[in-house]
């Protein structure tokens, strides 16, 4: 290349001519600073990118392979045990958003004192074809947790030793742990399903120690004729009566007839009597007939409600009775059993 002295000089000249002044330099730095701030802002915004979308993309890109995180991204109440990895990100729901997860069933949890729900899908490391969705409902206290547990107790399912209130079905595990009501649901059944369900439930219990609470009212129900696992706690609106709250109920079977017993401890004997009278009036208002002369045993009232017999009495602070009996003999028999039990 021919050395062109003129050209060199001209370039140098231009270079000097184009050298930025102090103002240009400041403005340039300002612009660069602004761009850097924008870049940081964009980065910061996307740090909060919807984790469900990220997880979904992973699932899509690697079908049948679980979405694995090194560790939980949130304050999760359940760190997956060793044999499990994360299939989808954790989700949490409060009173306002619960129905976004469980739709109409939210109406069961909300009146029972629901506080929040944690849900997450996990998958066994050695079988990513199956996933387990863990639901942990924080119900505020054991009684509330028992309310939703007992309302959904599956007939014929086996109790589990993990907790006082625990049972499993072919593909699921349900239990109460302190203020928590837990459900673990398998996406499909395999030979390892039961082992996996237990592992996850145990992991949650181990990671979330709680003080043990017993529910004394359960033992107030007489054993004769009691249908196993039928005791329920109904926080509000028992038997369709809005004023009847905090009721324990249990199903009984005498011969081929089924009927319901109920017990509720009120704040005083006067309050118990008031509530008993309210319930009787409710039944009468909606078409029942006072047939208290047919009630023997405890001192109380009986209402024939379209062919079913309903008896109510009080014993100290307790309101108790029988609901939906097909005949007065069964109703009286159970009323007497309850009365005797309450006297113990």
């Amino acid at each position: 290349m021919k050395k062109n002295n003129f050209g060199q000089l001209e370039e140098e000249t231009n270079a000097k001519t184009n050298s930025p002044g102090a103002l240009e330099t400041i403005l340039s730095y300002l612009i660069l600073f602004t761009l850097a701030v924008i870049a940081v802002g964009v980065y910061w915004y996307h740090l909060d990118f919807n984790p469900a979308v990220k997880a979904l993309e992973n699932i899509r890109q690697t079908p049948q392979i679980a979405f694995v995180l090194e560790k939980q991204e949130t304050d999760s109440p359940l760190v997956p045990p060793d044999k499990f990895s994360i299939f989808s990100p954790p989700e949490t729901f409060d009173r306002l958003t619960l129905s976004d997860k469980i739709d109409g069933k939210a109406e069961l949890y909300l009146p029972a004192g629901f506080e929040n729900l944690f849900a997450q899908r996990l998958t066994p490391i050695d079988n990513s074809d199956v996933w387990y969705e863990v639901f942990i409902y924080d119900m505020g206290n054991t009684l509330n947790a028992f309310a939703v547990y007992s309302a959904q107790r599956r007939d014929g399912s086996e109790s589990e030793a993990l907790a006082e209130f625990a049972y499993s079905t072919e593909n699921a595990f349900f239990w109460v742990h302190g203020p928590y009501y837990g459900e673990i649901i398998a996406s499909q059944v395999s030979g390892q399903t039961r082992e996996h369900l237990l592992l996850l439930a145990e992991a949650f219990n181990d990671q979330n120690p709680v003080s043990t609470e017993t529910i004394a009212e359960i033992d107030l129900f007489p054993k004769e004729g009691l249908i196993k696992y039928s005791v329920r706690f109904i926080p509000t609106n028992a038997f369709g009566f809005e004023g009847l709250d905090r009721i324990f109920s249990a199903r009984y079977r005498f011969e081929n007839h089924e009927l319901t017993a109920f017990i509720s401890r009120r704040s005083s004997s006067e309050k118990a009597s008031e509530k008993a009278e309210d319930f009787v009036q409710f039944l009468i208002t909606y078409g029942g007939t006072d047939v208290s002369e047919k009630m023997d045993g405890p001192d109380g009232k009986m209402v024939d409600f379209f062919g079913t017999f309903n008896g109510v009495f009080t014993a100290g602070d307790y309101l108790a009775g029988v609901y939906d009996a097909n005949n007065q003999e069964d109703a009286n028999r159970l009323l007497q059993l309850i009365y005797e039990k309450l006297q113990e």
């Binding site: 000097k16 050298s19 469900a52 979904l56 739709d103 069933k105 959904q152 014929g156 699921a172 996406s187």
Partner: protein
């Protein structure tokens, strides 16, 4: 100012001491900067929306769904019992009604409104079974449908629901289109004589150009409404905080039944969720009821579905309310009823 053009070998002393910008160059630079500013400004103006996205409540253009029912066909329902093969049950039911061609013609653009409410596996029967989706789409295409679109506005995250329920795979494998809900697909609607669904966001855009609509739902217990079947399935076309309607769930189901006049409904009772609906969770919540219902009358279909739930119509006021509104009849024996045992 000196003319440097003719000075080819000398270095101007001024440049050495004071490298000042010249007026000509300044003007050129200023013009470029101005050009960039105008270009950027124009671009920004192009994208600028001075009003922003309108709130749904402020939109004035109300939409309503056309009537997709076939008025020339007398109300009919086919009930197939005794098989757990959804494809076989569906084909048998449709054949009993005169064949899919009686309902889907060449060139039809069909929309399948599935129940993809939850991100749960098919085995739990909380959502429309993917086998039923693929079988229906395949039959529609075989009848000459130009397109088949599958949509729903699920309760859980839509993408996860369609993926984990198996509906996405079933739809796409048959060449159907899948439309997931997005905000801009909703338009406000007011149902005729409605007390609840008034200026409420409706998943309307997927119906654009659609000529036939088929509702597809499983038979399920529902904690609030007692049952979730074909009429309740239209709930998935609503947007917004639709759970507020749970306070009058029978009323809103009645209005939904008025809102949508489908070509057909398919009620899947191969498995029935007897308890703990609408989510279920345990396989023990399900009962194998071996039944498939295909009907032109959604009220009749749900009335029969009530029998699978082993409950009487009095347990489901929305069925009777829909009947009173003239949507259909709960007396399914009064329509052209065909019952087949495919076992």
């Amino acid at each position: 100012m000196k003319n440097y053009k003719n000075k080819k070998t000398e270095i101007p002393e001024e440049f050495e001491k004071a490298p000042e910008i010249k007026r000509r160059e300044f003007l050129i630079r200023a013009a470029k900067a101005l050009g960039c500013t105008v270009a950027a400004g124009s671009l920004a103006y192009l994208f600028y929306d001075p009003e922003g996205p309108p709130a749904i409540s402020k939109q004035t253009r109300l939409v309503s769904l056309p009537d997709f029912s076939l008025s020339h066909i007398r109300p009919s329902m086919a009930i197939v019992r005794g098989t757990d093969d959804r494809k076989k049950a569906l084909e048998t039911a449709l054949n009993a009604l005169g064949g899919i061609e009686k309902f889907i013609e060449k060139g039809d653009r069909v929309l399948l409104k599935v129940n993809a409410a939850f991100a749960s596996p098919p085995a739990l029967s909380a959502t429309t079974h993917p086998d039923l989706v693929s079988a229906t789409a395949r039959l529609c295409f075989a009848a000459g449908a130009e397109s088949v679109t599958v949509t729903d506005n699920p309760i859980n995250d839509p993408a996860t629901c369609f993926l984990l329920s198996g509906i996405e795979k079933a739809a796409l494998s048959e060449g159907a289109k899948l439309i997931l809900p997005r905000e801009n697909l909703f338009h406000p609607t007011t149902v005729k004589d409605a007390k609840l669904i008034r200026q409420w966001p409706l998943l309307y855009a997927p119906f654009d150009g659609i000529t036939k609509v088929i509702g597809m739902a499983p038979v399920k217990d529902h904690h609030r409404s007692g049952a979730s079947m074909t009429m309740k399935n239209w709930y998935g076309l609503l947007g917004g905080r639709r759970n507020i309607f749970h306070q009058d769930v029978h009323g809103v189901i009645e209005e939904l039944a008025v809102m949508v006049s489908p070509t057909l409904v398919i009620l899947d009772g191969i498995w029935t969720m007897m308890t703990n609906g609408p989510t279920g969770g345990s396989l023990s919540d399900l009962k194998q009821t071996h039944t498939m219902i295909v009907s032109t009358d959604q009220v009749a279909a749900d009335a029969f579905g009530a029998t699978l739930l082993e409950k009487s119509l009095e347990n489901f006021p929305h069925i009777l309310k829909a009947q009173d509104r003239g949507v259909g009849t709960a007396d399914f024996n009064s329509i052209n009823l065909i019952q087949i045992n495919a076992g």
